[in-house]
Symmetry: C2
Subunit: 465 residues, 2 copies
């Protein structure tokens, strides 16, 4: 599909929408806007527009639709699969400036926000009102618009679910510029196909989110973490299904290995509370009373010890909390800093298949003689597996990566897992998804894309295309 | 759109799929299959097939698709909007016989079921294993397939959400007979557009659900209800946003008025614990310890009394529980039995607009001189409002109903509510949804319908058509 090349007429008109100060053309645009966090794929937009309201987005889309110009929406650019890269150039709509918290409605427990509000700002704001926005992706400088677009997950999914579960309503600008509202402040909704749920996780391919109504919960009064060392990873991860089966409900269950902890210590220049063991589980519990939490974690601590844990550290002092969670927050950056280049696999498998999958990546490490590092959400089956380039030549790296990824995704399919648990498909994971889903499935997805975007101007080349 | 009329060739072929014993033609089919629970619209299918497995469904769909024969899927037929009525005749696929619980996976906390399993069977089965399937629609003899197809809600939505939140994966037969799996046992999923969430609530128009993977929770160890009489409905309902704002999390908050209680007493021949007040809230709390529940309900009881409640009855004996919940379960039937004919409105509004909406229906009662009864889920904003025919002539009834409904749905839109909270759109509520959503929105929905069902053979005339 070929698009109209942007010319001076387009620039002239588009400038009238936002004025000179928020409008940039090729040379004025920072290279940052050509790629996302993981790199791998990049391309510059022809035009960058910093929008401030829905009307501007609508006018730009209407023009682009009429003229057949590709458009990509962008937030903080913290994605990991190239979903916000303007593969075909055209217009990039930067929504970071639409960053107002519009309304806290305590009678309906909702927060209405613009898409550019950062995740960290939402957390801070609602906690000041003794409220809670449970989704907890590691990257707190991501925008809420980006989180919704990838259906971001995070650590608390074990107990609280993912972003989708906390989006009650969306204002969306369609590719043709029309503005629609999906859902609202309502708690229940059986009024036709759930376009709200379709927008969540659609990675900027169906419409541009310009407002979101989020669902809040009362803030749990207390939370505590346990750091549990195990002699090896198998023992650690093998304990997780037993915890789930015990009917305890931890908020989060993360797993980590010594190599990753060492990398984080080096990266942060700070010590982790313990690095003497091969593998760790990090569990969090929250609730409204000390007794309630203690009862839950006592039971789980006992299970861990029965399954071979070497100790159970209660992370209750501020110092320990900071040491543990700053390390956990730095894993991705630390692994990245330990090598020359890397690519990641964000598979999700049923929770009782995590150990089998991680063991398999260990085999691949040996088979392909390549460093593989992983950490992730043992409690919800979502793994982050990083293949590291180190000193490999460009050709060798590319070939190895293809082979390792092929084997990993095949394994995920075998275990009834899926290509992405929380990072999305974007550009980088398309072929793996196509392979798993097959032609019939993809043709339904493409039909949906056409229903929203018949001219295919919005974020072309992504997800199903 | 016209379809192929069924002839002897079709009958001959379709019989080969399921054999003689599960295949019925016009005269052999009970009139029950021509309508659902509320009536209002009815039409007989030409053929009724009682299927037993996915392969049979797939073969029937493939044939119907090739020949252009309309098909409607049917469960228990407990719907209230005509969604399972075969408007165009053709083939009705009865899934009630696909009623096996296939697997309880305690390590992943999932239950895999066929679509014909009844809601009451699921509840009983999982509770025997100390597990919990939270969605709690009043009609326990509905099939889980039907519940998923309408995204059924129920009373526990205040704390636990709706059916959508407990569907992890679906096996679906597409209109062309192909079988796909959406989602799975995985906890997180960012792998392309969420076709699973699109299927939930699509009322049998996009595909036929032949298997579902449900998410379970540990069974809360204790539950208690409070029955709280108020001098009038405004005081009762006005208390609800204050309860939500107080950060208590009740499992359910129902409201009821004396007239409906009296109707239920008459219908059941049993006394309700109290019928001396004008209006009541019925609240439930669940949790794992007596202390936890007591703390929550003490706070709420205090709020109710501050807001003018006349008393607070704790429903803790088996006898009281039975009296209260059997009455609550019988409200729909009781109201129905009190008149000659009725139609219902299942709007959902933001929780702090419930009182305003109910007051408005009171005005309509006077304005149109027609009996209107309501009860419902005050805690989630989902109201069931019944307009009763009583002794009105057919013409008068039809006209009045149109006018009353028009006013009610206009009011719902004004309050930023939606046409249906949990009963769906089906056939009966289409025009109200079209009016609220407008042409642009509906054209996206129709595009989605086409992506799944380009020949429009599956449940034609419903939802968006």
């Amino acid at each position: 599909m070929s698009y109209k090349a942007i010319d001076s007429e387009d620039i002239k008109y588009l400038k009238t929408i936002v004025g000179d100060n928020r409008f940039f053309t090729k040379d004025e645009i920072s290279e940052d806007f050509s790629h996302d966090e993981l790199g791998g794929v990049s391309n510059m937009p022809d035009i960058l527009v910093n929008v401030l309201n829905t009307e501007e987005v609508s006018k730009i889309m209407k023009y682009a639709y009429e003229k057949d110009i590709p458009v990509v929406a962008r937030g903080s650019g913290t994605g990991l699969v190239g979903a916000s890269v303007p593969l075909k150039g055209g217009i990039m709509i930067n929504l970071s400036g639409m960053n107002k918290i519009l309304e806290l409605d305590e009678e309906n427990l909702t927060l209405t926000v613009e898409p550019g509000v950062l995740l960290m700002e939402i957390g801070k704001f609602v906690e000041e009102h003794d409220l809670f926005y449970p989704p907890d992706p590691g990257e707190k400088s991501a925008t809420i618009g980006g989180n919704i677009s990838t259906n971001a997950g995070g650590m608390r999914a074990v107990k609280y679910g993912v972003t989708r579960d906390y989006v009650r309503g969306l204002e969306v600008v369609l590719p043709n510029g029309k503005v629609l509202e999906f859902g609202g402040k309502v708690v229940k909704n059986s009024s036709g196909y759930s376009l709200k749920d379709l927008m969540v996780g659609s990675e900027g391919t169906l419409g541009i989110i310009t407002k979101a109504v989020l669902r809040l919960l009362p803030l749990p009064k207390k939370a505590i973490s346990l750091l549990v060392p195990f002699p090896d990873l198998n023992k650690a991860i093998g304990t997780v299904p037993k915890i789930i089966k015990s009917k305890a409900i931890p908020t989060a269950i993360e797993f980590m290995q010594r190599e990753v902890i060492l990398a984080a210590e080096k990266f942060l220049g700070k010590k982790f509370p313990d690095n003497s063991s091969d593998a760790y589980l990090l569990l969090t519990f929250d609730g409204n009373s000390k007794e309630e939490i203690e009862e839950a974690y006592d039971k789980v601590a006992k299970i861990c010890l029965e399954e071979g844990a070497l100790d159970v550290f209660i992370v209750d002092t501020d110092e320990r909390k900071e040491a543990v969670w700053s390390a956990r927050g730095a894993f991705l950056e630390a692994v990245k800093a330990s090598t020359t280049e890397m690519d990641e696999c964000d598979v999700v498998v049923p929770r009782n298949k995590v150990a089998e999958f991680i063991n398999y990546t260990d085999e691949l490490q040996k088979k392909f003689n390549v460093r593989i590092r992983s950490f992730g959400h043992a409690g919800d089956g979502n793994l982050h597996v990083y293949v590291l380039r180190d000193e490999l030549t460009s050709d060798l790296w590319k070939n190895k990566l293809l082979e390792v990824f092929k084997d990993m995704y095949d394994k995920a399919v075998e275990l009834k897992g899926l290509v992405s648990g929380e990072h999305g498909i974007g550009y980088a994971k398309k072929l793996y998804m196509f392979k798993q889903y097959g032609e019939e499935y993809m043709s339904v997805m493409r039909g949906i894309k056409s229903a929203f975007d018949p001219e295919n101007i919005l974020n072309p080349g992504k997800v199903c295309e």
